[in-house]
Subunit: 224 residues, 2 copies
Amino acid sequence: MPGIREVKKRKTRNAIMEAAVRLFSEKGFEKTSIEQLARTAGIGKGTIYSYFQTKTEIFHAFCEDELDFIHSELLSKTDPEAALIEQLMVLYIGEFNLISKNKEFGRLLMQQMVFPVEKDHVKARAIDDRWLTLVFSICRRAQECDELRRDLDLLSIAGHFYGLYIMTISAWYSGRIQTEDVGPELRMLFQQALEGLAPFDSAKTLRAVEVNTLKKTGTRSIKI
Amino acid sequence: MPGIREVKKRKTRNAIMEAAVRLFSEKGFEKTSIEQLARTAGIGKGTIYSYFQTKTEIFHAFCEDELDFIHSELLSKTDPEAALIEQLMVLYIGEFNLISKNKEFGRLLMQQMVFPVEKDHVKARAIDDRWLTLVFSICRRAQECDELRRDLDLLSIAGHFYGLYIMTISAWYSGRIQTEDVGPELRMLFQQALEGLAPFDSAKTLRAVEVNTLKKTGTRSIKI
DNA sequence: GGATAAAATCGACCAAGGTCGGTTTTGTCC
DNA sequence: GGACAAAACCGACCTTGGTCGATTTTATCC
């Protein structure tokens, strides 16, 4: 059984996290000072630093909670029978919704996740890996259905989609594309990634037909 | 003709930038304090803030200089006769070399360029656009040589390559891939982006031949 | 229960980014 | 050249993230 020490420790950590969720959601990450956070949690400022090494680390814990929630929610939303691109869109647009809901929070999240500092990169990878697992399972299934080439490893494939996602989000943050265009834009890019950027001459007509079929019927695309 | 005021203003700004280049290169961005910067430039701390609004903004100006240099250097290095993928590699690996030379500096650069704060996003786009222009000219040429589909707009195409680049850099910062693997990895991803992620049945064998040809001869790939 | 070691907590303190009101320099008009 | 307005400049000051040694609380051993 846990001693008084353990219980208290758990309780204090929870208090910090609860304060963080409230204050970060209320006033954003940067506008929330450690002092406030400590006061809200009912502890001293220094104590926070025996639970988290940096303010950023608190943010990470906060993100982990948020992403846990969104991931489990998205998982239940995806239909494993749907076309690959549809499943990907559910995932990525789901995450984008989280980000666009609080732009500043999302920016911090992306900055830290995509380009983590040395100190945080293990943590960032852990979060990332859970996301990858999700994408992997979808892509593996798509490979089995012949929607994806089998000669590419899953990491590469996931990389392509992830790269397009990051790039699109980047374009959004740079003001290049509007919020309502993120979805369509991403879908188009995914489609192009599947088709390939190089021309393929005779195969072109064939593929064009397939793409049209996909668009009209909404069912799985390339099939023998 | 410029009055004393203008001249002095120019001189002061230059002094700041020179100090920034020296100190940032010497000890990195974060380890350089505004105070030091001011002292080195031979001015007061407050004065800096009448030239730049934030420390980050000084960093941006610094980046612009660095990127200007690297861009012009890269432009002279690319061979317009070489295969698309080779030209892209020169560009992206060139930029990666700049980044990997000072990892922390590069991280800041990427964070600010890819996910800029509202305040900076105009500046970030300006820098970005110059880069895009470079990629555009290469891709346009590739379209004319039938290395790239003509039915895709240049922005989309550049987006694909840029996304893969960001993603690879991200993987590097997360410790997923080593410095020496960045080049090969990126090349592979570019190749896959050209080929497409979806299987294409009969066309597959044809393309495989073309790819092999490319690898062996090193010349332009798909051609009628 | 008293002594002692270890863990947890605290807030004064430090460093650094950024602000602000006062001061100096420059340009202009008479 | 003197008076005055505007721009440029400065550094004391404020805020806040993070540190550190002192203090309190908890666990253990006799």
